[in-house]
């Protein structure tokens, strides 16, 4: 078997990522030039930490988008001769190079790493978005009204937080539970929250202007109901929105594990903000409580929430990796980073090369998000 040298591997990897470099150059260059006009996002480009964070996040975003172009091989394809091949081995049949070598099932480690980013970058931000919706919709009334509603909701949130995450996953993400209605029931509950949130958002703002409120709530219900039917009942009439049962299970478990954290943060922020003068002014004007919560308090809590969302996407990525590492929920041949780390870590004594790409990928992505969050926090403190 032919091999190429270390320097050529390095050049080869750089060359394979060409669509990412191109897209990065365009987006980062444009953002840097127009940073004065881009608000909070533009201010990120004032600090080194911010630029590095944004760069890493965009790098993985573009990698996920252009995975088909970057990866030379199919992530599931096995070429038997390349079993445990060292980095830089050349596949004689196609003339392509296994840049990071082959794993124990003779698949290309580089292609699997690239395709793995797709799974992470779809599930982690989406699950975080749902967790934010659930946490905000429940945290606003808990913080604003206080009293009994707060006690009940906080007690429930503390119940979930008292579960060690790993135990939660072992109970919620098992093949057995897919035979019961529990995951679907939970999905049905969680996916209702975005619809409730947006309906309340539009209704409270425009309730005196029927021409707009009907259109907006109608659209929310239509789009929300369409996605809801597709995700929960797998009954999308157009067949566009669909999710595999095991992915739904993972998704629900991750949202469940992460929404109480959002709830606590939102509740704390609301309790702080509701003592401000502009809230008192709105109360004096006779605005409804939900209008005050959604249009007076929430916009003023956005800074810490954006920072938390960044950190939470990173944390969700770690959770997904944990699921993969324990072989829960994801298919055994799935190219996601956690599963790849699990497979490779069992064979560390004989081969180390399949283990390094997924670990470094996961670490760099989470690091990018954490740096981004740190830079955002610094910037929002300056105001």
């Amino acid at each position: 078997m032919e091999h190429i040298g270390g320097f050529q591997i390095f050049l080869g990897v750089l060359a394979r990522f060409w669509p990412v470099w191109l897209a990065l150059a365009i987006v980062m260059g444009a953002s840097f030039v127009y940073k004065k006009k881009l608000g909070l996002y533009g201010q990120l480009f004032d600090s080194g930490v911010g630029i590095v964070g944004v760069g890493i996040c965009f790098f993985w975003l573009f990698t996920a988008m252009f995975a088909g172009t970057i990866a030379p091989f199919n992530p599931l394809a096995q070429i038997p001769i390349m079993k445990d091949a060292m980095p830089g081995a050349i596949d004689a049949a196609s003339g392509q190079v296994y840049l990071f070598g082959g794993d124990k099932l003779a698949r290309d480690v580089f292609s699997r790493m690239v395709y793995g980013s797709q799974i992470v970058l779809i599930i982690a931000p989406a699950a975080t978005a749902f967790a934010l919706m659930v946490g905000i919709t429940l945290g606003l009334p808990a913080g604003y009204y206080g009293g009994r509603i707060d006690s009940v909701l906080s007690f429930l949130a503390n119940l979930v937080l008292a579960f060690p995450v790993i135990l939660l996953f072992y109970l919620l993400v098992t093949p057995g539970i897919m035979e019961t209605p529990i995951p679907y029931g939970m999905a049905g509950l969680f996916f209702l929250f975005p619809i409730i949130f947006f309906s309340a958002l539009f209704y409270t703002r425009f309730k005196n202007r029927p021409d707009r409120v009907y259109i907006q709530i109608g659209l929310t219900l239509l789009i929300g109901g369409w996605i809801y039917a597709g995700l929960v009942f797998n009954a999308d009439p157009l067949g566009i929105v669909s999710i595999k049962p095991n992915q739904l299970n993972i998704f629900v478990a991750v949202v469940f594990a992460s929404s109480p954290g959002v709830f606590r943060i939102v509740r704390g922020l609301v309790m702080d903000i509701k003592t401000r003068d502009y809230v008192a002014a709105a109360q004096t004007r006779g605005e409804s409580p939900w209008y005050i919560m959604l249009w007076e308090i929430l916009p003023n809590a956005r800074g810490p929430l954006i920072v938390d969302a960044c950190l939470r996407i990173g944390y969700t990525t770690i959770l997904l990796g944990t699921l993969g590492y324990f072989g829960l929920g994801l298919a055994p041949e799935s190219p996601d980073w956690g599963t790849a780390i699990k497979d490779a870590s069992r064979l560390l004594r004989s081969f180390i090369h399949p283990a390094l790409p997924p670990t470094i990928a996961l670490m760099s992505f989470v690091l990018g998000l954490n740096l981004l969050a740190d830079a955002l926090r610094e910037q929002s403190m300056k105001d």
């Binding site: 930490v49 007690f155 503390n158 119940l159 937080l161 008292a162 579960f163 060690p164 995450v165 790993i166 135990l167 072992y170 109970l171 919620l172 098992t174 093949p175 057995g176 539970i177 035979e179 019961t180 529990i182 990173g314 770690i318 990796g321 944990t322 590492y325 324990f326 956690g338 780390i341 699990k342 490779a344 870590s345 560390l348 004594r349 180390i352 283990a355 390094l356 670990t359 996961l362 670490m363 989470v366 690091l367 998000l369 954490n370 740096l371 740190d374």
Partner: protein, 345 residues
Amino acid sequence: MLAFILRRLGTMALTMLCLTMVVFFMINLEPNLRKLSISQLDMRSSDEHIESWLVKNGYRQNFFVRYGQWLGVWPKYPNIDPATGAATSRFTYCNEPAETRFSGVLQGDFGCSTKFKTTVAAKLFPALGATGILMFWVMVTMVPISLLIGILAGMREGTRTDRSLSVAAIATTATPEYVSGVIFTVIFASWLGWLNGSAASATGQGITFYNFTLPVMTMAIYGTGYIARMTRASMVEVMTQQYIRTARLKGLSFGSVVIKHALRNALIAPFTVIMLQFPWLLTGVVIVEVMFRYQGFGFTLVEAAGNNDIDLLLGCSLVSVFVVLFTQLISDVGYAYLNPRIRVQ
């Protein structure tokens, strides 16, 4: 103060009751019970055979009756074999007395492990001891290092030391155990050959620097960054207080101000954070023990969950929920005790 502790204890008991009930329900789902009875009979048993085994061993009683029996507030009845009239145990490897009795968690009877073919107590408590040793060493390394990093970074905000230590702390929080474990094993075991990549020998032959450093290091590194950042934030806040300025203007040296005046006040917040780290550490324990094959609590939990060992998994869940709630309690009480502003209220 006493009323506060009692109220917290009451909430804790209620939370535990709710959580164990949820866990009991989730573990005793129909697919798991079927799997259990199939594993106890044989693969080709008919449906009615399975059903009769479940009925005979009391798995078909009302949910609350079963939960009460597990808890020990409802009597357990012996399984009478209809053919001979003699009482038989549920599983051949655990003896269950042949009389009606109250025997549940409250009485110290955790049930019978089908995977390890012994009582749950005989398996669970040695495993907890092993994990306790691991946790001890993790705490001993993690807490001083992270406090030191946090204090050094927060003592003079915005300096080069502060910036580089902060970035290092962020980097460690971005490295979960399964990532750092792999990287450390590659560096220290495969490449340099200094340390052993497996802690399996620690159970039998005792703990040595050679086989125990990697697990401890892997677990400590994830928490270090988090605690260090909390300490830094709290230190930065304390250093801007009036009394620090007064102490400096009085002519005290910077070092003595930091150690005598700032440190004590800055360490209140990290105390809570360290206590609240336990739920995270539990996840870390599971990952690290599986990765380095150390026969502790986390290893037992994974074995129980992977092999549908209902009683053992219930025992593990009870322990982990208890640990989490108890550390929360200590953190609350300790915070109130350490912080006079709260104590006076």
